[in-house]
């Protein structure tokens, strides 16, 4: 029965796993490089054939147009490079505000979703399921074209004590104007913060050592509010509020939140908050029920349990997906282009691109910026994550 054992044949070289691994990688690399070169070559040929200018020289030539919202001084005589910074700051502003607001709302809704109160948890559910399943762009349009368009004209503004005005052109707020001497107030605030920090450290040490508690919250608040106010009074109130005033067509003076930004912010916040709420809910549910029971049996009340026992553990589960949501929000802020908020995509990859005709350069810069923001945020979050991660034995 037994067959004679044949002498082992040397397998052909293409069946050798090592050779194959190298071969496959070489092929993949060659194909990628060739493809890249092919695209590069085509682009070069096309640009030359069409006589399109290339390079980044355009960044220093004057732009010639106005931008509706700018955090840094800007005028039509500024360069295209300046437009880039204006646009980038606008993107960062709306993203930062959106991240803060969405986190707040998301945590509240996420906890409400787990509330024992049936009505509250149902309402939270309805909110989540509604806003999560409707495209963000549609929500932006809804706020911009349907809701904020229904605001009154500047002359019939809704007003709050002749200081805050709301109309179709935006929300006008009084702007602080700092006089000389305000630096002292800032310094006092800094001093108060330092004192409060020291007090908190001392109180924690004492509690560890003796178990005695110290009303650190009220003391810090008193420090933080009292010291600056005192200095403010002593320095002779070095701050005046510049009130918005109706002059001609529009309100002048004060701060204005333009409706483009308001609707973008509203939509981004309400949309992202639904995802954050679900993440928070999942994170809290991931903490074993025994933890709650143990905490309650130690005599902690339910709010302390939430704050000291559940949230710190839940945060470990929450942070990574939360990072993703922050990234999504930042990227989604590019939808500003649809309603004319001058963000990076709208003002730079749109208007500048069109005025200069240098599509490749503009899009490349824009993409690089988003990539950098993405990588930076994930880097930061990874570090934080490593710090709070469970250290297992």
């Amino acid at each position: 029965m037994a067959e004679p054992i044949s002498t082992p044949v040397k397998p052909p070289f293409w069946n050798n796993p090592q050779v194959r691994a190298i071969l496959f990688q070489a092929i993949a690399l060659v194909v990628t490089v060739a493809f890249g070169l092919y695209v590069f070559d085509n682009t070069q040929t096309n640009l030359r054939r069409l006589g399109i200018a290339s390079g980044f020289d355009f960044l220093s030539s004057p732009s010639g147009f106005d931008v509706v919202q700018s955090l840094i001084p800007y005028s039509p005589t500024s360069s295209y490079g300046r437009v880039f910074w204006v646009a980038l700051l606008n993107t960062l502003l709306v993203s930062a505000l959106g991240i803060v607001l969405a986190t707040l709302i998301g945590f509240v809704i996420g906890i409400a979703r787990l509330s024992k109160n049936w009505l509250i948890s149902r309402l939270a559910l309805v909110y989540i399921e509604t806003f999560r399943n409707i495209p963000l762009l549609l929500q932006i349009f809804f706020w911009y074209f349907a809701v904020l368009r229904a605001m009154p004209s500047p002359r019939q503004s809704l007003s709050l004590g002749e200081a805050v005005f709301l109309n179709i052109r935006g929300l006008y707020l009084p702007a602080p104007e700092f006089q000389t001497g305000f630096g002292w107030v800032l310094a006092a605030f800094g001093l108060a913060a330092a004192l409060a920090w020291l007090a908190a450290r001392w109180a924690r040490r004492r509690q560890r050592a003796t178990g005695q508690q110290f009303p650190i919250l009220s003391v810090s608040l008193a420090l933080l509010l009292g010291l600056p106010s005192l200095t403010f009074w002593l320095a002779g109130s070095p701050l005046v509020w510049q009130l918005p005033e109706l002059q001609g067509f529009n309100f002048r003076g004060g701060w204005v939140v333009i409706p483009e930004m308001a609707s973008l912010l509203l939509a981004l916040t309400l949309y992202t908050a639904t995802f954050i709420a679900e993440i928070v809910r999942a994170g809290i549910q991931a903490v074993s029920h025994g933890q709650t029971e143990a905490s309650l049996s130690l005599g902690l009340n339910s709010s302390l349990t939430l704050r000291l026992i559940i949230l710190p553990q839940a945060l470990r589960v929450i942070i990574p997906p939360l990072t993703n949501q922050y990234l999504n929000l930042t990227k989604n802020s590019s939808l500003a282009a649809a309603i004319g908020y001058p963000d990076l995509v709208s003002a730079f990859a749109g208007t500048v691109l069109n005025q200069t005709g240098q599509a490749i350069e503009c899009i490349a810069i824009t993409m690089t910026v988003y990539l950098t923001i993405s990588l930076l945020i994930s880097l930061m979050m990874n570090r934080y994550n490593r710090r709070v991660a469970l250290v297992e034995r």
Binding site: N133, I134, P135, L138
Partner: protein
């Protein structure tokens, strides 16, 4: 001489712990804070709901065919009725719309057995794969025409919900396999392949879809040799697919990482090669694990189709937006957006419910 203890016949539970009252006490009024919250919620509902209902239903105008029919002060659903066909088919020629209907009907009939529990899973797999390969061809011939006696309908005439479904459908069917390949590449032990895949995935995940679409819409032709050009829709499809494939790859990678090493070793011990190990052992388990994630990516893709508005394709979103700027129907943006929102919501909510069901069905562990 103690009297024998006669057990008392069972008393009903206190009235305050059962029935409506008990439910109310347990769920709405369990603590002072809860009472306040309940009152607040009830107040909010009372303020918001009645006007909403009045606007949407009681005071709404339903019949008529011009804006004169909308004088009641409520919602003007006439606007939707008049534009309904346009919202569904876009500029698809009137006489040819049966082709769209047939394509949808075919899909529904073909896919129906997949959702029936009684059908054996083997048949489902075969049917699913068959559908995946055959249906796109059939649908393409039906919609585009130019063969079997059907007149050509150019893709620039496709629009409305039809276009949304085409983009979503193509995106889903193309992004999943591509995503699986990318995920395998990222987990590969070959450094060159791994680097390529990581770079690809991180690049697409790092940029907003809108720049990708803009690139595919106006810059792709600069990358190609002169004279070579794709259809605008096709370019958008490529952009959407590559973008979602990167997200899909990360979802699938999660599944791959959850497969214990023993499975790979067992497969290797049986003498299976790389593709057999992956195809027969690892992927079936990994994909099953991440079904919710896959469906979530599908939902995101479905919502993202609305961005093609930016590059001037007339999907559902754009066609509704366009109708609201029609001078004869100015002032009905709210109705238009509410309608579009309802359609998107139905699809997305349906998908998410289905995935939850599936998850429950596949999840056999213990629940708390």
């Amino acid at each position: 001489m103690a009297e024998p203890r006669v057990p008392h016949s069972n008393l009903p539970p206190p009235a305050s712990t059962v029935g409506v009252v008990g439910w109310l006490r347990r769920n709405l009024l369990s603590s002072p804070l809860n009472v306040v919250l309940t009152l607040l919620a009830v107040y909010l509902l009372l303020v918001a709901l009645p006007p909403l209902l009045r606007w949407a239903f009681l005071d709404a105008s339903w019949s008529g065919d011009n804006r004169a029919a909308c004088r009641s002060g409520g919602a003007c659903w006439v606007f939707i009725r008049v534009h309904f066909d346009q919202f569904m088919y876009g500029f698809y020629p009137d006489g040819q719309r049966w082709r769209v209907n047939t394509a949808v009907l075919l899909l529904v009939l073909g896919a129906a057995p997949l959702f029936v529990r009684a059908v054996s899973s083997q048949f489902k797999v075969r049917l699913g794969l068959g559908l995946l390969i055959v249906y796109p061809c059939v649908a393409f011939v039906l919609l585009k025409g130019g063969m079997i006696g059907l007149p050509v309908v150019d893709t620039s005439q496709w629009g409305g919900l039809l276009l949304t479904l085409v983009i979503a459908g193509v995106g889903m069917t193309a992004a999943l396999p591509l995503g699986v390949l990318l995920a395998l590449g990222r987990r590969s032990r070959l450094p060159a392949i791994q680097t390529l895949c990581v770079t690809f995935i991180e690049f697409w995940r790092g940029v907003p879809l809108i720049t990708v679409l803009f690139m595919s819409s106006v810059m792709l032709p600069l990358f190609l040799p002169a004279g070579m050009n794709f259809d605008k829709l096709l370019r958008a499809l490529i952009g959407v697919t590559l973008f979602q494939a990167a997200y899909m790859a990360e979802v699938v990678r999660g599944g791959l990482q959850a497969i214990p090493k023993g499975q790979f070793e067992a497969a290797a011990a049986l003498g299976l090669g790389y593709w057999k190990t992956m195809g027969l052992i690892v992927l079936p388990q990994a994909l099953k694990l991440v079904i919710p994630g896959i469906v979530n990516t599908f939902i995101a893709l479905f919502k993202d189709t609305s961005l093609v508005l930016i590059i001037g394709l007339f999907d559902l979103m754009n066609i509704v937006h366009n109708a609201t700027t029609n001078p004869e129907w100015l002032g009905f943006s709210t109705e238009g957006y509410v309608f579009a929102a309802a359609v998107y919501w139905l699809f997305c909510f349906g998908m998410s419910r289905y995935s939850q069901n599936l998850e429950k069905h596949l999840h056999t562990g213990h629940k708390r």
